[in-house]
């Protein structure tokens, strides 16, 4: 499927608006008092879920381009990646503000003492440099190679995010959803490993 630049701009705007809907829903629910019995828990879980959804969608862009031969799709990746950061930031702010009221000492105790928070916090911190270097200017300044190397951090961030969710749910022995995310994330990473391995084989074969 080929897409003109004009169509591409339109798709981008639609996607931008769609990706903002979960946030707008949260704002509306807060105003309408529809967050349920435990609003902080609702917002924490909701923003966490959407971080994971966008992480999976972002990681799916490269495989989709290859499988569907939709080369334009890769041009959605930056915006989707920034949405991962946006929802992760909301998730973290819920924790820092609504849960800890900016008591940094108390927050640090939580981060250091509770492995699932340690892992989630690390994933969030690792996302920051990716968000900061997402502009064309930064790509130029870093140079394509170094920029790409830096952005491979997402292969560390994604498993950390899944582990964070898994450990959180483990407290209540509820593994169905974390396992689903684990399967999706590891398939998306696995397919890359597989392609690389195959490319390596053909490359070697050619050398002979």
């Amino acid at each position: 499927m080929n897409v003109t630049n004009q169509q591409l701009a339109r798709i981008k705007w639609i996607l931008f608006a769609l990706a903002l809907l979960p946030f707008l829903r949260l704002v509306a629910y807060t105003y309408l008092d529809k967050l349920g019995a435990n609003p902080v828990e609702f917002i924490t879980r909701n923003t966490g879920d959407w971080t994971l959804y966008f992480l999976c969608i972002t990681l799916a862009m490269t495989p989709l381009r290859k499988l569907l031969q939709w080369h334009w799709i890769i041009r959605m990746r930056r915006m989707l990646g920034l949405y991962v950061f946006f929802y992760a930031f909301l998730h973290f702010m819920t924790f820092l503000w609504f849960d800890h009221f900016f008591e940094f000492e108390e927050m640090w105790t939580d981060v250091l003492k509770r492995p699932f928070i340690t892992v989630g916090f690390s994933a969030f911190v690792l996302l920051i440099p990716l968000a900061l270097t997402s502009s064309n200017g930064m790509i130029k300044r870093l140079g394509g190679k170094r920029w790409q190397l830096l952005h491979r951090l997402v292969y560390v961030i994604a498993p950390l995010a899944v582990l964070h969710y898994f450990w959180m749910k483990a407290g209540k022995h509820d593994f169905a959803q974390p396992l689903l995310f684990a399967v999706i994330v590891f398939s998306l990473l696995g397919i890359r490993v597989f392609w690389r391995w195959r490319a390596h084989l053909t490359h070697n074969a050619k050398a002979f």
Binding site: T30, G36, A37, N38, P39, V40, E41, I43, F98, D99, F101, T109, D110, K113, R114, F116, W167, M168, A170, G171, K172, H173, D174, F175, A176
Partner: protein, 267 residues
């Protein structure tokens, strides 16, 4: 359906009651799903009548009591208790029931009886959550006999002046306000008196995280979160700080039950 009961002033906590809606739509009852909104949606399949509890084990008078006999066994009281969940939130709920000790006296435990085990209904037709292996079914909870005899321990049939909604453990459950909520077994079909400490559902699932006693204790953290504070449902909203959790959830009367015990070890 109304369930008449006189308020027992000795146990009428003067705190703002949690709304009926919150108390009946935000529940942990894994037999009806793991999400807290699930029980209110799926517990309609539970049939709370006819119902009976079989009482057995180390007692002189084993018996099976149907719901009507249970309701007539002692005068029903309304008691307003705090409920503290191990997840760090709390509610204030007016329960209807009578002290569990009334039932225990009737069945006359023998000298071997040191613990009481509560067993929840296990019926896949009525409880859709049993299909997932999140816990070992049936749900089992337990107390030391002296804990069970404490007047605070309430054999419960109703809340807010009505019979228990299915999602809150209909038709009969216990309520132990000084312990985390999961200790209060719901929809009980069997009570067994034993010599040995019973295995309990959450302790089997994660022994390092959920102890047999599970008394509310702000000084003993859950490995995944702090227990020092809690959020009161319906009151502590987005922009209010969590409140401090009290030792034994504020029910200091029970401290005598644990005199000389290291509560960090027996958490």
């Amino acid at each position: 359906q109304k369930l008449a009961a006189a308020v027992n002033p000795a146990y009428a906590l003067m705190e703002k009651k949690t709304s009926y809606k919150d108390a009946t739509t935000y529940n942990n009852f894994y037999e009806f799903g793991t999400d807290k909104a699930d029980p209110a949606m799926t517990a309609g399949s539970l049939k709370p009548r006819p119902w009976s509890i079989s009482i057995e084990g180390e007692i002189k008078k084993p018996m099976t009591l149907d719901l009507d006999s249970l309701l007539k066994l002692a005068p029903l009281e309304e008691r307003i208790y705090r409920l503290r969940c191990v997840e760090g939130w709390s509610m204030v709920i007016p329960w209807v029931g009578y002290s569990l000790s009334q039932l225990i006296k009737k069945v006359e435990p023998n000298s071997n009886a040191r613990f009481v085990e509560f067993i929840t209904l296990e019926d896949k037709k009525q409880m859709p959550g049993l299909r997932s292996p999140v816990l070992e079914w049936p749900y089992v909870e337990g107390l030391r006999l002296d804990e069970a005899m404490h007047p605070l321990a309430l054999l419960t049939f109703g809340m807010y002046g009505e019979v228990l909604p299915n999602q809150n453990g209909a038709p009969v459950r216990i309520v132990l306000p000084w312990k985390y909520g999961f200790k209060s077994a719901k929809s009980i079909v069997k009570i067994r008196f034993t010599k040995e400490q019973p295995r309990t559902a959450w302790n089997i699932a994660a022994p390092s995280e959920y102890g047999f006693y599970s008394n509310v204790n702000p000084e003993v953290n859950h490995p995944r979160w702090s227990q020092a504070s809690e959020r009161r449902i319906g009151e502590d909203g987005l922009l209010s700080r969590k409140r401090k959790t009290l030792m034994f959830n504020g029910y200091s009367d029970v401290a005598a039950l644990y005199a000389g015990m290291d509560l960090k070890k027996f958490f």
